[in-house]
Amino acid sequence: MAFYLKNPRNIINNLKSKVGLWSLMKQSHSTCCYSSCLNTIHLHRFLPLTTLPQFTNPESISHKKGHFPHFQRFQSTTTEKQIDSVPNDEHNQVLDFPGGKVVFSPEMRFLSESPSVYSQCYRVLDDAGQLISHSNFVPVSEEVAVKMYSNMVTLQTLDTIFYEAQRQGRISFYVTSIGEEAINIASAAALTSDDIVFPQYREPGVLLWRGFTLQEFANQCFGNKADYGKGRQMPIHYGSNKLNYFTVSSTIATQIPHAVGAAYSLKMDKKDACAVTYFGDGGTSEGDFHAAMNFAAVTESPVIFICRNNGWAISTPTSDQFRSDGIAVRGQAYGVRSIRVDGNDALAMYSAVRSARQMAVNEHRPILIEAVTYRVGHHSTSDDSTKYRPADEIEWWRMARDPVTRFRKWIEINGWWGSEAESQLRSSIRSQIAERAEKPPVNDLFTDVYDNIPSNLREQEKLLKETINRHPKDYPADVPI
């Protein structure tokens, strides 16, 4: 159901009651997701083939000795002939449909539109940064944990610097990731550099983790000569071939099917890598999300779908966005294994993404991760979110639920961090960004439309340069020709 946070405290209580032992992750994969549905919706009779052996009445052997119709695409796709139902007793009738065996029931029972209990949320650290007892998680070394924390702090600082730059008129636009630092950094830490990332636009932390420098971020935002994008994109539309981070695209959710295509290609190439794509709660309403999830399941592609459910799509709260119990439950509808995670718990995020990656690559399957969090900042610098949500709600999430301080407490408890290290880190970040740089040259206007520049564009470029030379005062002096 809606994650609309009118009263944040109720939500904490809800989450807390679901916290604790979740051993389902360790169970064998064939029963994992489906047993979780036992305590949510009514048990419906139609189960996919992988769990069929447990459900079929052993006496109801069909006439045919042949194989069941397969979901796996890459075996024979010929459909089975329909056989008459084989009655064994009055209560259990099983019939072969093209999709599989269906058990009948004389009771008319509709599947509920919403579960009696919300799907569980995986969390390992409590609000005070203490490890919850009986939690299982993937252990993290001191080096990695400290790197994660420094990156989260760097991301916060980066956001502050560029946000201020926009407010001062030095760049035209910026999008912050405040409140979602754990999702950004912890997920990046759990992946390898070979995994291809298809971001939305609130995941610069992944690029930061992989080695994009503050200077490179600045170059893109200012659109100067050193920008890898040659000044063609709005700010925050980063991309890096080298770091396997796909260029940010403004259109919502288009990156989701792209990720599936790339994952399928990785599988064809038999690479030890997966595709990872990020999107928000709003993006899941787009047709592309549904098509991609479906495709990923049918083609058995190694792709991780990470949904940042931060409660808001500009001014649209999740209660206006969908009526399902969040995003994770949709996985089952498409045949995709899924999990809901506390997005502000860096350790839980790390564990979930790490395990997801293993399953995706080793078992050739898609995984859906719903990271529950809150968008502390405005949607972008063109937005003032106090117009549609209470300022005290924003403040509460910024202070009491800050993922960075929570993780800091944990690494301090482990003896891996202290206040001296903290001040050293903060002062070193600010000094890393240079200021003025030249704009890109005019011929960058015409290159890369096609692989080779066509003659009509070459002609246009020549004409433009002639025009600029003839009327220099009509053109800005700081643009190199």
Binding site: R73, F74, T77, I196, F198, Y228, G229, K230, R232, Q233, H237, G239, S240, N241, F246, T247, S249, T251, T254, I256, P257, H258, A259, V260, G261, A262, A263, Y264, S265, L266, M268, A275, G287, D288, H290, A291, A292, N294, F295, V298, T299, D444, T447, D448, V449, Y450, D451, P454, S455, N456, E459, L463
Partner: protein, 362 residues
Amino acid sequence: MLGIVRQKMLEQSLKKIPPAVSVLRSYSSAAKQMTIRDALNSALDEEMSADSKVFLMGEEVGEYQGAYKITKGLLDKYGPERVLDTPITEAGFTGVAVGAAYYGVKPVVEFMTFNFSMQAIDHIINSAAKTNYMSSGQISVPIVFRGPNGAAAGVGAQHSQCYAAWYASCPGLKVLAPYSSEDARGLLKAAIRDPDPVVFLENELLYGESFPVSDEVLDSSFCLPIGKAKIERKGKDVTIAAYSKMVGYALKAAETLEKDGIDAEVINLRSIRPLDRSMINASVRKTNRLVTVEEAFPQHGVGAEICASIVEESFAYLDAPVERIAGADVPMPYAANLERMAVPQVEDIVRAAKRTCYRSVS
């Protein structure tokens, strides 16, 4: 003043164009006949065989052998990993294919008709066409979108639109429209080998038609250049420029015109983007009259673009206003008699050519 500069530049480039002799008039003595369907099928087969990165995606391309049987036999030959039957989601499979192209493989996406490509047009334009530019050359998209385009027979408004002008207006895309089997083979091979996204517009009614093909065309390395038109029939009195099925109509019109003493030159555009402006202009400078023919809606169409190009580059050479033949400005009706009235017929082309020659059209 800029106009004169461009005229001068065009003249210089025109001087470099070799005489437009049709190379393929010289057929081998035992000319083979090949249908468009077989031409496309053999082109796909050969390209898939030569490059393991090429793979096909689309609805019904595998088990069903293709909605129009263009991909017949390919599933059996290359297996389900390289010939994918997709769920019904144009937006979905186009997006997935573009993602695969980003990675570096070479998908050939089939739309059952280009009318359905509208459901995927965001991925074609925003995800494929613009990406090389927006990523400043870091990500190329070697993808081909193919399928039947334009009017068929009795299929109504939502199955009959021609998309040549829509796609050809977008920088970053290449748009091809073959007419003969030679065009189909050569241009499809070129499209698959091209590193940029290519929209390949076929025609359903032409699939079953046979054309003569030489040994050169049948060779597996045969390829036609993208961006070059072809003069199907040399003439001196009026230039008729057309693409796809209308080339056939233009050729028939030229036969009729010959009986009336008008020698028409028929240009098969082959490439809508990039448009072979130099060849069209050279032809008009020779004949001084132009008729453009297309089945598509008239406004903002290919004919309009050609007319603008002639006016910009060769205005002084025109002896008559450019005649533009296009489909009726209505959604395609279903009833056979109405449908016939909504698309250009040979008589329309003949009358237009006569008008440019200031002949009476009684």
